[in-house]
């Protein structure tokens, strides 16, 4: 069986079906016109925006806490996290719930983004690990860069996002 029979072609034409190399799948979304992706196996669900409960004395990018079927889950505003200008939350604001792993603890976090675009597959060879991505505010949370003829995609490092700084989990078992 080749990948072709799976019924879904890769969105890129430059490497056609001969390649049997493994593919990676991303949920892509937009922030300030830029395309980002998060590994699809990390995505728990996508929700529409609802006003979260404020967290006292939290960094500005922590929009608040929401109830995810009985679990209390923080909402991180990626725009603010990347040091961009805030955008008022509207009906098109979308929240992506992802699983993160840091310091041996797995936590769920929801990311507020401008809009969700699509689910895309890429051959693994297109994935380029990023050493340093430049001076963008998002640089430290970008794990890799994918560039094809059609688009360029910044792959978000969700573990890094939740594993450092003020959002790092408390050490020790909980």
């Amino acid at each position: 069986m080749s990948l072709r029979t799976k019924g879904q072609r890769p969105p890129t034409d430059d490497l056609d079906d001969e390649s049997e190399e493994p593919e990676v799948e991303f949920l892509t979304f937009r922030i300030a016109g830029e395309a980002y992706g998060v590994a699809i196996d990390r995505v728990q669900e996508i929700r529409s925006w609802e006003a979260p409960t404020r967290v006292p004395n939290a960094p500005n990018y922590v929009a608040g806490l929401i109830n995810l079927r009985g679990l209390i889950v923080p909402v991180i505003d990626l725009r603010l996290r990347f040091g961009l200008k805030p955008l008022p939350y509207t009906d098109t604001t979308v929240v992506i719930v992802v699983k993160t792993q840091a310091l041996g603890r797995s936590r769920m976090v929801s990311l507020a983004v401008d809009a969700v675009s699509d689910v895309c597959r890429f051959p693994e060879s297109l994935l380029r690990r990023s050493a340093h991505m430049g001076d963008h505010g998002d640089a430290e949370f970008i794990q890799a860069l994918i560039s094809s003829v059609e688009q360029a995609l910044l792959v978000l490092d969700v573990d890094g996002l939740m594993g450092s700084g003020e959002l790092a989990p408390e050490p020790g078992p909980s």
Partner: protein, 745 residues
């Protein structure tokens, strides 16, 4: 001794260890943590047994119980390659073995040594668990003392040890699936055995797969063999030498009249069982094998196993070591140890409780399908049926909630296991005679509450022995019995647990206490206090009535910490004392921390819950009672007290346009003995809320103790008053003159 020679067990332990090492580390950790939990249970059994011995009991079953517990710890330690642990427990075991065989006297020095050795063993296990450094000096010193004691040992018994010749052997032979590949034909083995003596063979075919899965070159059969009239063990060992280690176990079947040796067999048997369990867990679960065991189980304590024993939440996981504590009929009361270490949060739940849950969840599934059925099929009385369905759902949800809460409930005896030892040690040190009475130890409470109450209880007991109960001479002079009584009683009252620690000692010296409080500037000399208010001063930080500071209690830390700890658990503690007659401390604790009662308030556009346990009152602010001190802090005059006003919205960084506090609401709360007022905009009502963790997906927040979900699905945060005070004063609350710190509860 007729148990299997150690050389047969060692290689197996090694094999098990090697296989363990090959396991996934997470599973290994899990197995280790089970071992540590069970070792703690074992330590509690040992300690309780030793204390029983020190009270004069010489029940052989008691000694056997202690021996078995040490043996299990040693075995487990060997499996995990903890050499120091194995060596130390081996020394201990040897001494216990001598005692058991009546070759060593049970005297006070020996008991003292044993108790200290058990402490060291406990410390060793703790260190292993926490992966911290071992205290080698203490261990070595105790090892030497144990050795010295062994040298001293002399038979004290009139019963000489009789060598027992076993009359038959029980052999369980379960060849590995691939045994034929190694040319180990079971038939040859059986034929060899037959040449040794009389053979009774039972076939066990439970491993046999369905025909489709059957592989002709694999062996699925196992045999239980009773061999009688065998010449000696060596001959059997010779035959066994051909068989792969691990696939066969032999044990002796002893004559029934010798209980101690039967015990040995039991040990060997347990050891075997454990080793097998680790290698072939799927086999051990089979009922057939259990039957074989019970048949040959001729020991007197067998009946103890069958007695109902509700206080032990048994069930998971079914490791064979669990059999050890269950068999200790004598030690029922102390079988379970408090999960002292906070390293891991495992809990044992009775299987029946889980079954109940499964049934309930089944009900919920049915109700769900019923409701979706109703919602899809339009009918005339749809609304009525929907309402009925929702009612059913509500009922079941409530039962489910209660059942889940019950899973967290443990008998309070878990928190009491350390007390007998403490009383024993302290009464020796202080040369007092004290009888400890524990009532209501099966009262259940939440595991978290239990862990939190353990230390305060220890302190109250210490306090009662140190300050309360008088010396025997004083007691006789006061016309009291020489032996003091310390009673700990637990009862459930509604949604609360009441724990009373009562002594019949000298009571609180009120005049002296008041004098000290005035001297410390805590009480206005002109104030008139009633008796309860004076007695309540014992909880005040910095008041200790003992003239000389002892290292037990009386450094001024203690009762105030007790009160703080109890309050952190949402409870309260009060004292009642009758001079010359005794003192009673009463702790009131909520049954569970998972659900609290709270006041729902609005601050700016956010809703918060203030736990009812800390709220005193809510009042409308009158401007003229407000004052601002130089530091910028605001105070509100309430009666004779000045209460700090905390602008929560400011502390939490909420945007606000407030200037004037007039006409706003002030909720007065108790922050660890000090009252503060929280500024709120609106009081929305009083309700029960389910506490949810913030740490699960986020992290702790200063000033917030948890979160809950409101009826509309939104998250509301639960205020932590102590944290808010920290936020406001950076840990340094301003000092204000007040008459009495707080009204008596």
């Amino acid at each position: 001794m007729v148990c299997l020679p150690k050389k047969r067990l060692r290689p197996k332990a090694k094999i098990v260890r090697d296989r363990l090492m090959a396991l996934d580390p997470a599973l290994q950790d899990q197995l280790q943590s089970v071992f540590f939990d069970e070792s703690e249970d074992g330590l509690a059994v040992i300690e309780a047994g030793l204390l029983e011995l020190s009270r004069g009991s010489r029940d052989p079953e008691l000694i056997n119980g202690i021996f078995r517990a040490v043996h299990s710890i040693k075995g487990g330690g060997g499996t995990f390659g903890m050499t120091v642990l194995v060596e130390f427990s081996h020394r201990l075991e040897t001494l216990l073995d001598r005692i058991r065989a009546k070759e060593h006297a049970i005297d006070a020095p020996t008991l003292d040594l044993l108790l200290r050795a058990v402490d060291a063993l406990g410390a060793l296990l703790q260190a292993k668990r926490a992966r911290s450094a071992l205290d080698h000096t203490t261990l070595e010193q105790l090892s030497e003392e144990l050795n010295a004691s062994l040298v001293r040992s002399a038979p004290v018994a009139d019963l000489p040890a009789i060598a027992i010749k076993p009359d038959s052997w029980l052999i369980h032979y379960a060849p590995d699936f691939w045994a034929l590949e190694t040319r180990n034909d079971p038939l040859i083995f059986l034929a060899e055995l037959q040449r040794l003596g009389h053979l009774e063979v039972t076939l066990e075919a439970s491993r046999l797969p369905s025909f489709a899965e059957l592989n002709p070159i694999e062996i699925y059969l196992a045999w239980d063999i009773v061999l009688t009239e065998a010449p000696d063990e060596e001959a059997i060992q010779d035959v066994l030498a051909w068989v792969e280690d691990g696939s066969v176990t032999i044990r002796t079947k002893p004559p029934a009249q010798k209980p101690i040796d039967a015990q040995d067999t039991q040990d060997a048997h347990l050891e075997d069982a454990r080793l097998e369990q680790n290698t072939h867990p799927e086999q051990d679960a089979q009922p057939e094998r259990q039957d074989v065991r019970l048949e040959q189980n001729t020991r007197p304590e067998h009946e103890a196993q069958e007695k109902p024993f509700d206080t032990r939440p048994s069930g998971l996981p079914p490791l064979p070591d669990e059999r050890v504590p269950i068999q200790l009929g004598v030690l029922k009361k102390s079988v379970e140890a408090l999960g002292r270490s906070r390293v891991d949060g495992s809990i044992r739940v009775a299987t029946s409780r889980i079954d109940d849950l499964v049934n309930l969840v089944g009900e919920l599934v049915i109700i769900h399908s019923m409701l979706s059925d109703i919602s899809q099929s339009p009918s005339k009385n749809r609304e009525d049926r929907l309402r009925a369905g929702l009612g059913e759902l509500g009922r079941n949800t409530l039962i489910l909630q209660e059942s889940v809460m019950r899973m967290r409930m443990l008998p309070i005896q878990f928190a009491l296991t350390r007390l007998p030892r403490l009383v024993h040690d302290l009464s020796i040190r202080l040369k007092k005679r004290i009888r400890l009475e524990i009532l209501g130890e099966t009262t259940e409470l939440d595991k978290i509450v239990m862990e939190g109450i353990s230390d305060p209880l220890l302190h109250l007991v210490r306090n009662a022995i140190d300050h309360g109960v008088e010396s025997p001479a004083e007691r006789l002079a006061a016309g009291k019995p020489e032996e003091g009584l310390l009673r700990i009683q637990a009862d459930q009252q509604g949604g609360y647990i009441l724990i009373r620690v009562t002594d019949d000692g000298r009571g609180i010296d009120e005049a002296h206490l008041l004098e000290k409080a005035v001297a410390a500037g805590l009480v206005d000399p002109m104030a008139t206090l009633n008796r309860a208010q004076i007695q309540d001063l014992v909880f005040h930080p910095g008041l200790s009535t003992r003239e000389e500071v002892s290292d037990l209690s009386g450094r001024g830390v203690g009762l105030d910490v007790v009160r703080r700890n109890v309050r952190e658990l949402g409870g309260n503690v009060r004292v009642e004392s009758e001079p010359g007659r005794g003192t009673r401390f009463e702790i009131r604790l909520p049954l569970t921390l998972a659900i609290i009662e709270g006041k729902l308030v609005r601050i700016e556009d956010q809703k918060y819950v203030i736990p009812l346990a800390v709220t005193v009152e809510t009042l409308r602010i009158e401007k003229e009672r407000l004052s601002r001190v130089a530091s910028g802090h605001e105070f509100y005059r309430l009666g004779t007290e000045m209460i700090p006003v905390l602008r929560v919205y400011e502390l939490f960084g909420l945007p606000s346009t407030k200037r004037d506090l007039d006409n706003l609401l002030l909720t007065v709360v108790d922050a660890g003995g000090r009252q503060v007022g929280l500024l709120v905009d609106e009081l929305l009502g009083h309700q029960q809320v389910v506490v949810k963790s913030l740490e699960a997906n986020y992290k702790p927040i200063l000033g917030i103790s948890g979160a809950t979900i409101l009826g509309n699905g939104r998250v509301a945060l639960i205020l932590d008053v102590a944290g808010i005070v920290d936020l406001a004063f950076k840990g340094q609350p301003p000092r204000v003159k007040y008459l009495v710190q707080e009204p008596s509860a």
